[in-house]
């Protein structure tokens, strides 16, 4: 079974990132959010949905997010930082408590920032050595800003 990094460990990946919106979804699939929205009455159980860069989180407002085991956010390129805001908004604005998974072309050196904005699992491309990536998990032990783990900026913690 393919592996991923989740909560600081390398574990089996039980879900499949469904990228083809035409394909029939199963309970193991993380499906495109627009597919899920348009088929939600008939699609049945899925593992979760994923957002592409540019889609924003607004489309999930009013949806019961607790039905998803996971919400994925795709990075079409690692320099495309829209997903950083999406994760934070999923957690802080839409109050989603489940797993937020980074998908696509993000890189191991971004792990520190990704964790701080709310990502909890990392489905790296196969070429990435997960053991080495794990070593980059938290480059900093201090931070100036609040984040999803501690909303207090440094001036409330000094």
């Amino acid at each position: 079974m393919p592996k991923l990094i989740k909560n600081g460990e390398i574990i089996d990946n039980p879900f499949t990132w469904l990228q083809d919106a035409e394909q029939t979804a199963t309970a193991e699939h993380i499906v495109p959010v627009q597919k899920w929205l348009s088929e939600k009455d008939s699609i049945g159980e899925v593992a979760g949905v994923w957002l592409d860069a540019g889609e924003g989180v607004e489309c999930l407002e009013g949806v019961d997010l607790s039905q998803f085991k996971v919400i994925g956010v795709n990075f079409p390129a690692f320099a495309d930082g829209r997903g950083f805001s999406y994760a934070r908004l999923l957690k802080e604005r839409l109050n989603y408590q489940g797993e937020i998974r980074a998908l696509g072309n993000f890189i191991p050196d971004q792990l520190g920032y990704l964790l701080r904005v709310g990502f909890t699992s990392f489905d790296f491309p196969e070429s990435i050595d997960l053991e080495k990536a794990l070593a980059l998990h938290s480059p900093f032990t201090v931070a100036y800003q609040g984040d999803v783990h501690d909303p207090r900026p440094i001036f409330l913690r000094r």
């Binding site: 930082g81 829209r82 950083f84 805001s85 802080e92 971004q110 984040d147 001036f155 000094r158």
Partner: protein, 553 residues
């Protein structure tokens, strides 16, 4: 100035360790070039024409003499014994070795310095007025606010991969805008509201580059405790909606223009509604803590215009000229603000040798409480000089090459490193500056011309701010040859405007001649004491254009 505590220090040290590991992995081929590129850029490291260039952060231009000595020392041991002060008040080293950079950063960390976010598509070094804290007419010292913004923006987890670079500048006085805030992604004007509370007028969407724009006001007043949540709201809207496909359309100015300020403002307000009043709200205790670092030094009780000064002014025309141009009124009686010019003929604008940096540090210790500032116009400032020591300081400044009495005049140019160093440049800019220095070397003439901002960029990325020079020169490439476009009418202060290109570009050797024609139009048409920019605004571009191209006809 601000002093690190254990947390600040730990952060820069962890950054050094992180970058050391990234560099090691890159050199071992474990980190692909394409991934290392933005990582090194976020640490100010470019790969230039001849060598890497390392841009070291000087937050809002403040430097201690200890820090400047360390920069001098680093430039000797890791580079070619000089550095280049930039328009973002930073210092650039042009010849470090890539493999040495982690060691350089470690040495910087020892004196509370770093190169964090001096490049890359992230929030850059916040800049401000080089006279902050020592002029009488500012609303409040902007530096504690700049430090607040520095900390908020440093390793901001959400905004490290923005559509494009993001620059913030802060101004705190009605009388001038020495930080060019209106041509920044965000310009902040510190003000007091009717109730006497401190806050910010917020300007958004200014910028230079290929599409120069003057910023527009998004809010007339944001209370100071709300500033970070408001900045978060603006940048979150930008991060999600800025253009990700075309880097020339990716700055916030393009988004603001495309949406229109009303739509942009309503999106920011909608975002801010969720953040306002939350944890990001800055408590008074934090403003007080930061303000303490910039509290007034123990000034002595002195009088203005002491005898030693007035007699020297009467005796020495050279000193009087320097005093008039290169010093500025201080808020305390008996003190003066002194600019150490880095615009000596024969030296690239903004460059300082290691020896000069050492010397400037010595002068700061001896005459100005051990601190210096770097200016947006690429000079150094000693902010707290006793008037009775000005004559002595002038002698020392002359000896070190800092006393060129041309501050604010034609030859006090802003100039980017250009094609001599920069891989992006279309043309060289330093030889143009040198040509202008050589041609316009008569001090009487320069003083008679009065205040003129001349800015030179080697390409349309506009690091030399040519759009907002009263006179702007832009290097362009025409079929492999270097040519120069001249613009006129730009300004970067409260009266900010974008210059207009006068017509087809000129060859390098024509520049001085063309400038002379333009200056002649000014001299022949000015009213008494009318500045160059004001004459231009009255006359329009036509007479300047005709004069500049008269030769060809």
């Amino acid at each position: 100035m601000y002093q690190y505590d254990a947390i600040d220090q730990q952060l820069v040290e962890e950054r050094v360790a992180q970058f050391r590991d990234q560099t090691r992995r890159f050199l071992n081929n474990e980190l692909p070039e394409l991934e290392f590129l933005p990582l090194r850029l976020q640490n100010g490291l470019y790969v230039q024409r001849h060598a890497p260039m390392l841009r070291i952060a000087i937050p809002y231009g403040m430097l201690s003499s200890t820090q400047l000595r360390r920069l001098a020392d680093i430039s000797c041991r890791y580079d070619r014994s000089y550095g280049h002060f930039s328009t973002r008040q930073n210092l650039q080293l042009n010849w470090p070795k890539l493999e040495d950079v982690p060691d350089i950063l470690a040495e910087l960390a020892e004196v509370q310095m770093h190169a964090v976010q001096t490049s890359g598509n992230c929030i850059r070094n916040t800049t401000t007025d080089q006279y902050a804290g020592v002029i009488s007419d500012e609303v409040v010292d902007p530096r504690p606010y700049c430090e607040l913004i520095r900390q908020w923006s440093t390793f901001h987890p959400e905004f490290a991969f923005l559509p494009r670079k993001f620059k913030i500048a802060v101004n705190a006085t009605e009388s001038a805008d020495r930080a060019a805030t209106q041509v920044h992604d965000i310009g902040l004007h510190i003000k007091k509201n009717e109730a006497g509370n401190i806050g910010f007028k917020v300007i958004v969407g200014g910028g230079l580059g290929r599409t120069p724009m003057i910023g527009v006001t998004i809010s007339e007043f944001i209370a100071r405790e709300d500033i970070l949540t408001y900045l978060d709201a603006i940048i979150r809207v930008y991060n999600q909606n800025g253009d990700r496909k075309n880097k020339y359309k990716a700055r916030i100015k393009i988004l603001v223009k495309a949406l229109g300020i009303e739509d942009f403002r309503s999106r920011v307000d909608a975002e801010w509604a969720h953040l306002k009043g939350k944890e990001g709200t800055v408590p008074t205790s934090e403003f007080d803590r930061l303000a303490n670092f910039f509290s007034e030094p123990a000034y002595e009780a002195l009088s203005d215009q002491p005898d030693t000064l007035t007699s020297k002014l009467a005796d020495s025309a050279g000193f009087a000229r320097w005093y008039e141009r290169n010093t500025f009124a201080h808020k305390k009686a008996g003190y003066r603000i002194v600019t150490l010019s880095l615009k000596k003929a024969g030296q690239a604008p903004g460059d300082a040798t290691a020896e000069q940096m050492q010397k400037a540090a010595d002068l700061a210790d001896k005459y100005s409480l051990g601190e210096l500032r770097v200016t947006h116009e690429q000079n150094l400032v000693l902010a707290d000089v006793r008037q009775d020591q000005l004559a002595e300081l002038w002698d020392a400044a002359k000896e070190a090459g800092f006393a060129t009495p041309t501050l604010g005049l034609l030859t006090d140019m802003i100039c980017c490193p250009g094609g001599d160093f920069c891989a992006l440049a279309n043309a060289k800019s330093i030889p143009i500056a040198a040509q202008i220095q050589d041609t316009f070397n008569d001090l009487d003439y320069l003083h008679d011309l009065g205040e003129i901002d001349l800015n030179i960029s080697g390409c349309m990325n506009a690091c030399g701010h040519h759009h907002v020079g009263n006179l702007g020169i832009l290097g362009v490439d025409k079929k492999g040859e270097e040519f120069y476009q001249v613009s006129i009418g730009g300004a970067s202060g409260h009266d900010a405007s974008i210059g207009k290109i006068i017509g087809p570009s000129f060859a390098e050797e024509e520049i001085s001649y063309v400038l002379q024609q333009i200056l002649d139009v000014y001299v022949n048409n000015r009213f008494e004491d009318e500045r160059f920019i004001d004459t231009y605004r009255r006359l329009g571009i036509k007479p300047y254009k005709e004069a500049a191209y008269a030769k060809a006809n």
